[in-house]
């Protein structure tokens, strides 16, 4: 039986019985049935509702118009989770069944559905328009009593809460999907980059066999491929940070040797800058060598990116309060205090440099995450047009 709902009442306690009765009466009245028929139908409905409320407070009553043109009926359905000690043989149901022409009791998928109906005479001229106006009428009907007012408000609040909870779950799911997508996409993109990079290097090996004009072009091609590959790597890192799958392989590391190696490698990359390494006595930290190398590569890369060429970048370290503090000092453009606080946030880009220095704002976010995961801290000092100093502190390994 397909029914067009006009009113819906959750059956929670005896107060709802009064509501069920009054609302059913009102629907029957609005549709034009006689007072006698209104009363009989409403009595049958509230009798069933009474039995259901005695057994569960999770039933739902719906009153509306069932059937099809031209045989419409006034219908009511009461649905609740099926209960073992409540069968259709309950004596109350026999009483209700005697009151209405149509009565059915069905159990499907763990739900118990009781349906009651009484045919509507053609003289009432029920049609879709009339049903629609009936629905609209009850939608704007004020509450019958204070209880219904509170119940309506409660229903509204719990509906809003449910929707919000669903939204949060949905959002979480979308975020997970997004991370997974970025991870798969960047892995896929890496494969053609690997191929392009290898062919570029193969071409570079053959450069003396071709026109000298080709050589600088090949170098540019190689540089840009490296840049692209770094960006994809950063995307992968961010997605791993997001889903918590960033793992480290920690080993005892001699910082003296580590910095010497890394600075030698990076001096080659940033050959337009004077990179100076100020070494102190050897100290040890626990670190993932590749990840710590990534931290240095990023900080030195930034120092070069925001400094005029031919300037000096100084890498130094010292011990303070049982911690090793590495400092990377440049003679670059520096930044304002409000930027200093925001630069470690994901995707942050300073408005001033956004147009002049391309980037996605991932580098320092990843860097700070790696440092924090090593039990360390990262911070910066800066002065406009004088330069910036980035500090990384790491816990020392004491023998």
């Amino acid at each position: 039986m397909s029914m067009k709902d006009v009113v819906s009442i959750t059956l929670e306690n005896e107060m709802d019985l009064i509501l069920a009765h009054k609302r059913t009466m009102k629907v029957a009245e609005k549709i034009g049935l006689t007072t006698a028929t209104q009363t009989v139908f409403a009595t049958a409905v509230s009798e069933v509702a009474r039995i259901v409320i005695e057994h569960t407070h999770l039933g739902v009553l719906k009153v509306g118009i069932g059937g099809e043109n031209p045989r419409y009926s006034l219908s009511a359905s009461i649905v609740f989770e099926s209960i073992t000690d409540l069968s259709r043989n309950h004596e109350g149901f026999f009483y209700a069944q005697k009151l209405v022409p149509e009565f059915s009791f069905n159990i499907a998928q763990g739900k118990c559905i009781i349906e009651l109906a009484t045919g509507l005479p053609r003289s009432l001229k029920v049609d879709q328009t009339k049903i629609r106006s009936l629905q609209d009428f009850f939608k704007s009907e004020p509450p019958i009593n204070a209880y219904e007012e509170i119940k309506n408000r409660n229903n509204y609040l719990s509906k809003v809460t449910n929707e919000q909870e669903m939204e949060i779950r949905q959002e979480k799911l979308i975020n997970e999907k997004k991370s997974e997508f970025i991870s798969i996409a960047s892995h896929e993109i890496k494969t053609p980059i690997t191929v392009i990079k290898a062919y570029t290097q193969m071409l570079q090996k053959l450069k003396f066999k071709c026109d000298p004009k080709v050589i600088p072009i090949l170098d540019k091609l190689d540089q840009q491929t490296t840049k692209l590959s770094t960006l994809v790597q950063q995307l992968m890192d961010v997605s791993q940070i997001e889903n918590g799958s960033l793992v480290y392989s920690m080993k005892k590391l001699n910082i003296h040797e580590f910095l010497t190696d890394v600075v030698a490698m990076l001096s080659h990359v940033h050959s337009n800058y004077h990179i100076k390494l100020e070494l102190a006595e050897p100290h040890f930290v626990h670190a993932d060598r590749l990840r710590l190398e990534q931290v240095l590569t990023n900080l030195l890369g930034n120092a070069a990116k925001y400094s005029p060429i031919d300037t000096q970048i100084t890498v130094s370290y010292q011990v303070m309060d049982h911690e090793l503090v590495i400092a990377i000092k440049d003679q670059g453009q520096g930044m304002e205090k409000d930027s200093l606080e925001a630069i470690f946030q994901k995707f942050y880009r300073n408005a001033e440099v956004e147009a002049t220095h391309p980037g996605l704002g991932m580098g320092l976010y990843i860097t700070s995450k790696i440092v924090v995961d090593h039990g360390g801290k990262i911070w910066a000092e800066s002065q406009r047009n004088i330069g910036s100093i980035f500090y990384v502190s790491l816990p020392l390994v004491v023998d």
Binding site: T191, T194, A198, Q201, M202, S229, Q233, S245
Partner: protein
């Protein structure tokens, strides 16, 4: 006799690259897109070196490398594992491979490592 290299890699572009790169260095190269085809190839021939990817359509390179090392007939063949995954570091404990090289790789470094084993 030319040294013989097996490449297990599912990406067409990379298989073609390895073939061009290694043939230019006078190696004999056979490439396989799946673990299944690789197993058949390995049953018929005995290469001097194996280069393989970790993530494959019908299996995992780490497991394949363990099987190669466990089989007496192939246990002496050096293996170079390659992967585009950053957590490659962790794989080292799970595979008997001699080398782990991350993608994108440096051509000179790869050739240097290959020559170290079969040069």
């Amino acid at each position: 006799m030319k040294k013989h290299v097996f490449v297990l890699e599912d990406d067409d572009g990379l298989r073609e690259l390895f073939t061009l790169l290694l043939e230019a260095e006078s190696f004999k190269v056979d490439t396989f897109p799946t673990v299944e085809s690789f197993r058949i190839g390995l049953a018929q021939q005995q290469p001097d070196l194996i280069i393989m990817d970790v993530m494959l359509p019908d299996g995992n390179g780490l497991e394949v490398s363990i099987a190669i090392r466990a089989d007496q007939r192939t246990s002496g063949i050096p293996i170079i594992m390659m992967s585009a995954h950053r957590n490659f570091n962790q794989d080292k404990g799970n595979s008997p491979a001699e080398e782990f090289i991350a993608k994108p790789f440096d051509v000179d470094y790869l050739l240097e490592r290959i020559n170290h084993y079969i040069g």
